[in-house]
Symmetry: D2
Subunit: 275 residues, 4 copies
């Protein structure tokens, strides 16, 4: 029985990571968009991969639980890659919180207990989480203490606190991901498994270009131009980091976030890039 790789979210980044990790494994592709998983499954089958699919709504406990049940039936789950996310240019505030905040909480809680010993998971967060003010210790404790379904009832995630801004909701949700992953490292550790996140900077995917073209585009361009690498990221850059975190070479790494941003957060933090 082959090891099972679960990839949740099959956009450009999800596809790149799936193709990278899939050799020799049974891969379960999941996404909200049925035609997206069908299309990728067809193409990966053509390329020799052993692929299964299941539609999922990550904001639904029932839907994610069904996915986990399917995955567990396929064999020992050794890798979980969670790339499902909504950007502020794509969706309203509420949907962003349901997918980017609650969806991650549900995945961490549902998959943590069922992954195989030695397994590893990666959540794709965002460098936006680094450009959002730090949480207070009380806010961090509140995120850890809330069940996934209670998260959106916390005052810090109210529309008022977020000034009705999808962009702010996105940044706060992505910052919360780091608290969630840090906290979940205990639960995953009980399974002998590891869980980390990756925070991509400005990546040149369809979604990334959408954001570059949005109001926040000028700031993004300033970040890139003033960053240490001076370039946009590619899906390969993110897949390289994910591959490392999932590898035996990272067996002492859990509960952390790996920022892969070309140095753009540094450009902001040091005042070189400006809004």
């Amino acid at each position: 029985m082959s090891e099972v790789l679960v990839v949740i979210g099959v956009g450009g980044m999800g596809e790149t990571i799936a193709r990278r990790q899939a050799p020799g494994k049974k891969t379960l592709l999941a996404d909200f968009n049925q035609s997206a998983i069908d299309s990728l499954a067809d193409r990966m089958f053509t390329d020799g991969f052993d692929v299964e699919t299941q539609r999922v709504d990550v904001s639904s406990r029932e839907s994610l639980t069904a996915l986990a049940t399917t995955a567990a039936a396929l064999g020992p789950i050794t890798q979980v890659v969670h790339t499902a996310g909504l950007s502020p240019t794509q969706a309203p505030l509420e949907a962003i919180l349901n997918v980017d905040l609650v969806g991650v909480a549900l995945m961490l809680e549902i998959f943590g207990p069922i992954v195989a010993p030695g397994a590893a998971g990666v959540v794709i967060s965002s460098s936006s989480g680094y450009l959002t003010p730090a949480f207070s210790p009380e806010q961090e404790a509140a995120i850890r203490g809330a069940s996934p379904e209670e998260l959106t009832s916390l005052e810090m995630f109210s529309a008022d606190a977020l000034r009705n801004s999808p962009g702010m909701a996105y940044g706060v949700a992505k910052r919360a991901n780091r608290v969630q992953v840090q906290n979940a490292s205990a639960l995953w550790g009980q399974s002998g498994a590891r869980i980390n996140s990756v925070s991509p900077g400005v990546i040149s995917t369809a979604m990334g270009r959408q954001e570059l073209a949005s109001d926040s585009g000028a700031f993004m361009r300033s970040m890139v131009e003033n960053s240490g690498t001076g370039r946009l990221g590619t899906p390969s850059d993110i897949a390289d980091g994910v591959t490392f975190l999932l590898s035996p070479q990272a067996s002492f790494i859990t509960g952390i976030d790996l920022l892969i941003d070309g140095g753009s957060v540094a450009a902001v933090a040091t005042g070189r890039a400006r809004m």
Copy 2:
């Protein structure tokens, strides 16, 4: 002319990293301890490595500049690994600041402009930097604004502010390393190079065991037992992370810190491990 690898600090971790990265390169080993570099150079020569040595005092601009001059004369410097550090069980407050804070600042400033295009550097910091209260924006700006020699004159690094505690000095210096590396990513970027740090958790080296046996040992043991991995780290775990950060696969990573701690910081942050 071979590529040049510079390894500053040749304790257990420095040796492991040096042996990992040295194949095919000219390696320049540097340390405060002449007999330590002579011994490692002998053993690495026996094992087929192409090794040079030079004594260095990282707290001295003159000494580090001399090292840089030697390195540049050997060929294009493509990798710099800075592992030189003093732990609170080894040294008084002032020495810790001079080595762990000023030494890093000097290395970043002196090597940044002379490394080859495509080069990468890694500073070994410590997870202690994550267990120290966050700096204020003003403190971060002060660290960035000060020359290496001015750093210890900042109020935040005064014996009073550090309560005359070598342990606190260590934690604050290691936290400062992240600010320094983030800031230096611009300077290194101008050379087409990258610079990052790694923060090891409780690693089972001679220095690590010394710390475990010290007053802070009970806390360390609690951190390890409540961490996601439940184990001590090894020099190999750190070398694996350093290898990744120095590799082409990390070409979009600069100005960041990679925490390799087995989940022990998470155990503290979530209240599972207690002082």
Copy 3:
């Protein structure tokens, strides 16, 4: 000035390898098929890669020399990946020899002297070269002694010797690639560079499926079923091997072939798979 990656041949395997190696580099895509390079260049540009293109006919010294000139003008050439090849289902005997045998010889000779110190190249050969009878020492010496343009005049590559069989020409050319790469390791070594080949087994690309559906398909299926892994290969498997050979971790590997075939050659050699 960025390091330059040259990818010759942009089919499924070439694309996968190009995307894997391209981050942080200037990538020069070359192929006989102009629309194939235009299409891949567009898609890679969208994904944030820094891409240039040039049409090439690998069987022409003039055309490959022009490619090398373009590449050298872009910056230091640190990686060359040669995936251009014709399969027996696609082309007549003469074309196969011109591309798979002469094309490789020309690339090795033209690029060897101009790559940067520390550079590495990989030629994609085929496991078919392992299913072809071994050459005599005299035949190997003849391959080494002939200029690229003289190769097809050798008796061993005559239509008679190859029984007018494109399949036999393919196997013999691919076996010759190993002799060519072994021999070229001296020339590339003079540049401080390395050169190796990879021999993929039955890979599920468009070309691979074409071969599976051909007369030799039954034999291929028997090889896969009786192989140690029992599965078809994917472009990712090959890219993983190429990534290793191009990495600093392979700095002591040159002049060799890496067989990535899932164990299918072993199945034939041990008599488990039969024609």
Copy 4:
């Protein structure tokens, strides 16, 4: 229950590989030399590794079976590294055959059926196997057909056929390793596992330097000087190749040999290096 790594033979190469692969695993160190395993176990324990030891005589089925029983009791065996070997400067012909030929055969047969799904093994062979005349198909079939204990009774391994030369015995045994590993890929495949070998060239270990100083030293020096890399190998070079073969990135590689020789076999094959 942790994954189990078995390292058979703990000389310089065995130690380097063990330290590289051991993080996060239970490591079982085995060697003929009890004090060697005790010493390495002590040092690895100090460095935070989880280590067990057992003395083994690889030329004895009973002894290797006892090792396998111990290993299996520790947990799922996911990696087996066989570095046990005798060089012609160390031992007489008979001992070389018993260790380098029979020992490998026994390990392949005994561990193949008990390793975990997804496991991988590596046998350290030698580039000497490439400098020995090729076997005839009948000889290869004889190697495959013989039980481990019958091997030394084959005519090709008689003292006469080997001209009473330990050096020739060594080369022939190492060449046979490739036939053995190729053949064993079927048995290991039935466990869902992979098995490969690595053939180091002239490596600067204690054993390597012994050989350099021996009668064959002049030839070795000629090989190195005329090789593509022009340098001696290091234990790190071999560990890098082993790490690749054991990694998920090599999941389509089984039954093969990876030559890591700096191009020295190429120097001999092409006539640049001479006896």
